[in-house]
């Protein structure tokens, strides 16, 4: 049955499908592969192959600014993951219990996902500028943009992603499970701790990973909210990229892409082995 289905579909979509698939995949991967290859080329003029070297990676490793930006990003992503996982899970659980205002809640959760990042970025910039101006006028203190403001912005959209993920899992859990726990003498708190939470575990963990990754790679909001002194890695990469093509930047790009490939493949393998 299955194979006949597949055969039928092949004829339906036409042999063009294979060609299209090949071309799209080539389109997606060729530039990155070329870049990765040339990141090992011993030439300042980056598109000329001039013998193998790891020199650019070495220079990258010694680049203090890159190192600092990396540390900043790791810190921001970790804080975002913690905030978003806790608050996003609470949001999903609260939504499941809410009897009124469901539509409004729904909107509140989806909004940060669909509002363009550039609007989120400029609105946060505006918000913090005005807020800090007010604080200065009232107290004389001079707060500035920095990693906490990035975390605030990243948290806001990451909460939504975690909430959506946990809510999807929650929707799959039959309500009878919690009822069964109550029926068997567990208090609501115990039922949550012993039944609901363990079953949500994978989704919560997945949400934490998602929040970390999203925050780590996020550029636009960080661009507007990180200020001048504490760039995250994408913000620092932006300033490097604006200067044009350099061998060091080739190496960094290759590393960033390779890093995500490894992470995603690992999590895919983990999910399958479960």
């Amino acid at each position: 049955m299955r194979s006949r289905d597949v055969a039928r579909a092949d004829r339906l979509i036409a042999p063009l499908a294979w060609g299209n698939a090949g071309l799209v995949l080539a389109f997606l991967y060729l530039p990155v592969v070329v870049l990765a290859v040339f990141s090992f080329s011993d030439s300042r003029y980056a598109a000329v192959w001039n013998g193998f070297t790891t020199r650019w990676y070495g220079e990258l490793a010694r680049d203090v600014a890159v190192g600092r930006a990396l540390a900043n990003s790791a810190l921001v992503a970790a804080c975002t993951a913690v905030v978003a996982t806790v608050l996003g899970t609470l949001l999903a659980l609260g939504m499941a219990r809410a009897t009124r205002g469901r539509a409004a809640l729904e909107g509140a959760v989806v909004a940060p996902v669909v509002v363009p990042d550039v609007v989120q970025g400029v609105s946060l910039l505006l918000f913090f500028s005005l807020l800090f101006g007010l604080v200065t006028r009232l107290t004389g203190a001079r707060p500035t943009l920095g990693l906490p403001t990035v975390i605030a912005g990243h948290g806001a959209f990451a909460i939504s992603y975690v909430a959506l993920l946990v809510r999807a899992r929650l929707a799959q859990l039959p309500p009878s499970l919690e009822e069964a726990a109550l029926d068997l003498g567990a208090t609501p708190r115990a039922a949550f701790r012993r039944v609901t939470l363990p079953l949500l575990g994978p989704a919560v963990l997945g949400g934490a990973l998602l929040a970390f990754t999203l925050s780590f790679d996020e550029f636009v909001i960080a661009f507007f909210t990180s200020g001048d002194r504490a760039p995250t890695l994408p913000v620092h990469v932006w300033s490097m990229v604006r200067r044009g093509v350099t061998p060091e930047m080739n190496a960094l790009s290759a590393l960033l892409v390779a890093g995500s490939i490894v992470l995603v493949s690992l999590s895919a393998l983990l999910q399958r082995s479960k």
């Binding site: 039959p174 499970l177 009822e179 069964a180 726990a181 029926d183 003498g185 079953l199």
Partner: protein, 347 residues
């Protein structure tokens, strides 16, 4: 006379502007096996949830062992539930599922061990303690659900369509097992089902529900033989429904002029001149040498016997069950409707 194990006093419950339960009165004696039977949406599951404590009545009272349980949460009620979808905890193995209700009651470890073993032996699941629910067959999951609920030795066990997800053969076997289990333990069972065969075959008493009310309650035989309404007659077993006008009344018997049939004597109360509905079971219609003339219209053989459709000369068609089944389509027959088996229905 001790208090009923479960009692509902004029319980009403509405949801979304719709009356789900409409003044339900019900008393289940200790040790009784009561089935609540009705089509989906009749309120039988809601009744169960009110007793379990997952839902609360808008009006009326629910009593368990004679105590009003208003405001008592499910985890403080001495009842346990076997859920329709079993609701086994997927992250716990069989042992932990069954032990769950003992752990919440702070039963000592060693006792938990022996009681879980007992409960699993009761449902013949020894040796599967370390399996996860997903590694069990539907029938095994069902048994775990029963063991998990019974291990707490509740005074009342509530079962919500517990066999609904099983195939016919397994269903039959589980019906027998559950019935035997109930006899052995003497636990009060309140058993919700939409399957009339299941209700009639298992329960001491059956309450038939329709649109939020218990329309008739009684022993299976009484329900079958003396349905009080058209709904009960049609819902329980197969029945011929006839309509006609009462011509004469003689004590407990009435003579009715039935449309398309002719004069029929039936049991029940009705006033002369009133239009009534009558019910007669197909197996009670007698094929005879004399009586109402008709022709066999259709023959369905089902192994245990034959069901004819007999078209009467006067116009009506009757379902007739017969063990022998020697007649073919087109055969001329006479049927008789014995007065003791024809019931006047209330509505």
């Amino acid at each position: 006379m001790s208090a009923p194990a479960v009692e509902l006093r004029s319980v009403s419950r509405s949801r979304g502007g719709r009356l789900v339960l409409d003044g339900v009165d019900l008393a289940v004696a200790a040790g009784e096996f009561l089935a609540l039977l009705g089509p989906s949406g009749c309120g039988k599951t809601t009744t169960l949830r009110l007793v379990a404590g997952f839902d609360a009545p808008d009006a009326g009272a629910v009593l368990i062992d004679g105590r009003d349980v208003r405001g008592v949460p499910p985890y403080r009620r001495d009842v346990n539930t076997v859920f329709q979808d079993y609701a086994l905890f997927p992250h716990l193995d069989v042992f932990a599922n069954v032990a769950f209700g003992l752990e919440t009651a702070a039963v000592p470890r060693a006792e938990i061990r022996t009681r879980v073993d007992e409960a699993l032996a009761l449902v013949r699941l020894e040796g599967l303690e370390r399996r996860r629910p997903s590694q069990l067959s539907g029938g095994q999951q069902q048994r775990v659900a029963v063991a998990r609920a019974l291990v707490r030795r509740p005074s009342v066990l509530l079962l919500d369509e517990p066999l609904g997800a099983l195939d016919l053969q397994l269903r039959r076997r589980m019906q027998e097992e559950l019935r035997a289990l109930q006899r052995r333990l003497g636990t009060t069972f309140v058993y919700v089902t939409h399957d009339q065969e299941e209700a009639l075959g298992m329960a001491d008493r059956v309450g038939v529900m329709d649109a939020g009310r218990i329309v008739q309650i009684g022993a299976p035989r009484d329900l079958y033989a003396r349905p009080v309404s058209r709904f009960v007659a049609e819902f329980i077993g197969e029945t011929n429904l006839l309509e006609g006008v009462v011509r004469a009344v003689d004590g407990e018997r009435v003579a009715v002029d039935v449309d398309g049939v002719g004069a029929v004597v039936a049991e029940g109360a009705a006033a002369a001149g009133v239009r009534v509905a009558l019910a007669v079971r197909p197996e009670h219609v007698v094929l005879a040498d004399d009586g109402l003339p008709g022709v066999v219209d259709d023959v369905v053989w089902n192994g245990a016997g034959v069901r004819y459709r007999v078209r009467l000369a006067a116009g009506a068609a009757l379902a007739v069950r017969d063990a022998r089944g020697a007649l073919g389509v087109g055969a001329a027959v006479h049927v008789r409707l014995p007065a003791t088996d024809v019931r006047v229905l209330a509505g």
